[in-house]
Amino acid sequence: MPQNEYIEESIRRHGRRLDHDERKRKKEARKVHKDAAFAQKVHGLKAKLYNKKRHNEKIQMKKTLKMHDEKNAKQKTDDAVPEGAVPAYLLDREGQQRAKVLSNMLKQKRKEKAGKWNVPLPKVRGIAEDEMFRVVKTGKSKTKSWKRMVTKPTFVGDGFTRKPPKYERFIRPMALRYKKANVTHPELKATFQLPIIGVKKNPQSPMYTQLGVLTKGTIIEVNVAELGLVTTGGKVLWGKYAQITNNPENDGCINALLLV
């Protein structure tokens, strides 16, 4: 009955088979060939998965190589002229600098520039009414078709009560009502899940604004009390605008960017 560390124990007592190291070396050496053969053979979904994995690995490898390269590569610089008296045979030498000198600060700046969301979505795709609404047939013989159902996510305030069915032209389904949005603060670069207060403007049409439809580009008002933002005067801010940046009907969630 094997118990506890029986494998290690056995190796300790009897040793490994004599060609263990040789086999291990060979296996390792063959691995590249095996991988190559597999990469050529594989197809379908497995190929997709495998290639993605391999691709990532290669990127990682290249990055590491690059890092090592950067350490060693020498670059010419003009301003780094050696100071002081220089012998004649060294006069035509230009200053040398290592590539790594591309300072962290510069990198940081570039990154910030790329990540700066100073312009919210200025343009939106037009949405036709037949995409927005589904016709609900009513009447005993289902011949009347004046009723509409909104097929996009909507925001419905807390105090809303449905009208009697006879007067209810637009239905906003329960399943598509949202109360919260994932709001990113562009300067803090952090995302918070904040409650929605209301829909300020839907660029598609004022009617959609009235209905509280949430589509890409819609400006919503969110409750930022959680963030603890303060005005210059020292008052606590709690309502702020944000613009929706994703297609909520396709993603099942609302991502927005805080307008500061």
Binding site: Q3, N4, Y6, L176, N247
Partner: protein, 640 residues
């Protein structure tokens, strides 16, 4: 007896990436994969909802399996619960399982939400995006479980390697300072092959071995050595011993090394004994002095001896052994086992279960009938024999087979006389030869007594004939006829070889004449030549060929007039007319009429459908355009 605690059956826990691969590829394999935007929207929705639901269920099932398979600490025996706490940290373990449980609930919630959203999907694109989002969120939740999963996998591997200790059976626990000979004792009494080394903490975890005593199965637990310090300072290795001592109802063998070869003084060892004594409460305890080949109790200083003996009070017994010399090992084991057995029986008697057994037991003893003394009756002959046997010494008793063997040349030479003690009507028959019987007859009856002689006679005659030269090969190969035959045979063989080699080199890709064409092209002369080449006589073959191949024709003798005359004389051809097959196998006309009717019935459908026979299954044009277009469904009007 098998242990009820078997942790070896827990399925491996994949790491988070593998987990995702398993679940997602299962979704891909087990759900339909083909969808087109042209399909009905309900169908598209159903297609994607199925995918989301299936993925969620697969995740759920896999996570549930993990949760169910891992033992719940509150439900296992306290020994195992404590051991797992020592080895894996109870809080960490519970946290990991709790996180898995939370992940399961989250995934279920995500699946539910997205199914609800999918019901409002109005295009393939939207449905697909929603499905993607759903699977993506599930995957994210799963990725966060990376650490829990890898921890659980490690726990599983370790659990599977734990010795299967049954906490309820008869058990001996071997404990003491490191390097005092615990594992050596274990190896002596059981078949467990525990590693023994001359340094401290060779045994780093619990080991279990099994042995038999009094026809019962016992388990012996070898524990790692313990040092004498407070419980808080003990490390994981020591804590395993403490766990075993605390939770198992067993006999405890506390090992003491008086020679101090282990590196710890006798005082240290005895103070450890005193400090862990609370753990021995209600357990039969033995103070085992080991390594007596080096140092016994008599050899130590008197104050130390007093220390050791002071420990042996209130039920603690002392025993000495040397695993090296193999002295006292079995005695120690038996002593411990007996004490434990006694205690277990006592415990059982104290319990309330015993009454239900005792009620069923009744040992009846007959009372005395009268005062007459009735001793056992021993025949006088037996008594005499017994007395004489007492008197006779070893020389007069019958010889043993072994002694007989030694006298008659030792093993390999001496043959055991198996017939010696046969019980037959007469003792003289013992060594008689037993007849061989075959088919109810004695084989010996069929043996000619003179057979040897006759054989010798035959051999002599044979020798004589050989000497006279009867078997010399005749030297008459010059016969004319035979030489000719041999010559022909040689030529045939040559020809055969040539044919074979020609066939071998024949170009099979060339167009060849068919056999029929070849036959038409060949003339009788070729046949003759061929036969001559083969060395055969073409005469008879030719005559036969001419006879068969003769052209049929009207001969002069068969002129029409003769034929006419003959045909008129002969009435009809009697025999060779064919029988009517339709009546074959039928007895009479009635049967025939019945079968005809049946045939008609069976063919009716085929006739109706205008089929050629049973095998005709052709489906013709269903709606011939020229017959269908331009017509109303009802009525005769054929205008549009």
């Amino acid at each position: 007896m098998t242990s009820i605690y078997n942790f070896k059956r827990i399925a491996p826990v994949p790491d988070s990436t593998d987990f995702l691969d398993i679940v997602l590829s299962k979704t891909q394999r087990k759900t339909p994969t083909v969808i087109h935007p042209g399909y009905k929207i309900t169908r598209i929705r159903q297609f994607y909802m199925r995918k989301v639901k299936f993925t969620q269920e697969t995740f759920d099932e896999k996570l549930r399996q993990i949760l169910e398979e891992f033992p719940v600490l509150d439900n296992v025996h306290p020994f195992y619960a404590d051991l797992m706490n020592v080895l894996y940290d109870k809080d960490h373990y519970k946290l990991a399982l709790g996180q898995i449980n939370t992940a399961k609930h989250l995934i279920d919630a995500v699946g539910k939400d997205y199914l609800r959203l999918l019901k409002f999907g109005d295009s393939l694109y939207r449905c697909k995006q929603l499905k993607r989002a759903a699977l993506g969120r599930m995957a994210t939740i799963m990725k966060r479980q990376k650490d829990s999963l890898s921890y659980l996998e490690q726990v599983r591997q370790h659990l599977a390697r734990l010795p299967s200790i049954d906490p309820n059976t008869r058990t001996l626990i071997v404990c003491g300072y490191p390097n005092v000979g615990k594992s050596s004792f274990m190896n002596k009494v059981t078949r467990a092959d525990v590693d023994v080394q001359p340094y401290a903490f060779t045994t780093k975890s619990l080991f279990v071995g099994h042995m038999d005593y009094k026809y019962l199965r016992w388990q012996v637990i070898d524990t790692p050595g313990i040092l004498d310090h407070p419980l808080e300072e003990r490390n994981t290795i020591e804590m395993q011993s403490i766990t075993a001592l605390a939770h198992l109802r067993a006999a405890v063998l506390f090992f003491v090394d008086l020679s101090e070869q282990c590196g710890y003084s006798i005082q240290d060892q005895m103070s450890l004994f005193a400090s862990i004594k609370p753990l021995f409460a209600n357990k039969p305890t033995l103070l085992v002095v080991s390594k007596t080949d080096v140092c016994t109790l008599d050899d130590v200083r008197p104050e130390e001896r007093r220390l050791v003996e002071a420990a042996c009070d209130q039920g603690v017994e002392m025993s000495q052994l040397s695993s090296y010399l193999d002295t006292g090992v079995m005695e120690t084991r038996d002593l411990a086992c007996d004490k434990l057995l006694l205690q277990r029986v006592e415990m059982k008697l104290k319990g309330n279960k015993v009454n239900s057994v005792l009620n069923k037991l009744n040992v009846a003893q007959p009372g005395r009938r009268d005062t007459v003394d009735r001793p056992a009756c021993i025949p006088t002959a037996v008594l005499e024999h017994r007395n004489t046997r007492m008197e006779t010494d070893a020389a007069e008793r019958p010889m043993l087979e072994r002694e007989l063997e030694a006298i008659h040349g030792g093993p390999g030479v001496y043959n055991v006389d198996l017939k010696k003690r046969y019980m037959l009507a007469s003792d003289e028959w013992r060594h008689d030869i037993i007849p061989e019987i075959m088919n109810g007859k004695n084989v010996a009856d069929f043996i000619d007594p003179d057979i040897e002689e006759k054989l010798a006679e035959l051999e002599r005659e044979e020798e004589r004939l050989a000497a006279e030269g009867l078997y010399d090969s005749p030297d008459d190969s010059d016969d004319e006829e035979e030489r000719r035959i041999r010559d022909v045979a040689r030529r045939i063989r040559q020809r055969k070889q040539i044919i074979a080699s020609e066939a071998r080199v024949k170009d099979v890709n060339r167009a060849t004449l068919t056999n029929k064409q070849k036959a038409a092209a060949s003339a009788p002369e070729d046949f003759v030549n061929h036969l001559q080449q083969l060395g055969l006589d073409p005469e008879t073959a030719m005559s036969t060929a001419q006879r068969i191949g003769r052209k049929r024709g009207r001969s002069e003798s068969r002129d029409p007039a003769v034929l006419m005359a003959r045909s008129s004389s002969v009435a009809a051809r009697a025999v060779s007319t064919q029988r009517d097959r339709s009546t074959m196998g039928l007895k009479n006309a009635r049967q025939k009429s019945v079968s005809d009717k049946k045939k008609l019935v069976s063919q009716r459908q085929m006739n109706l459908m205008a089929r050629a026979g049973e095998s005709d299954r052709k489906i013709g044009m269903k709606m011939p355009k020229h017959l269908v277009t331009g017509k109303r469904s009802i009525g005769t009007n054929d205008r549009r």
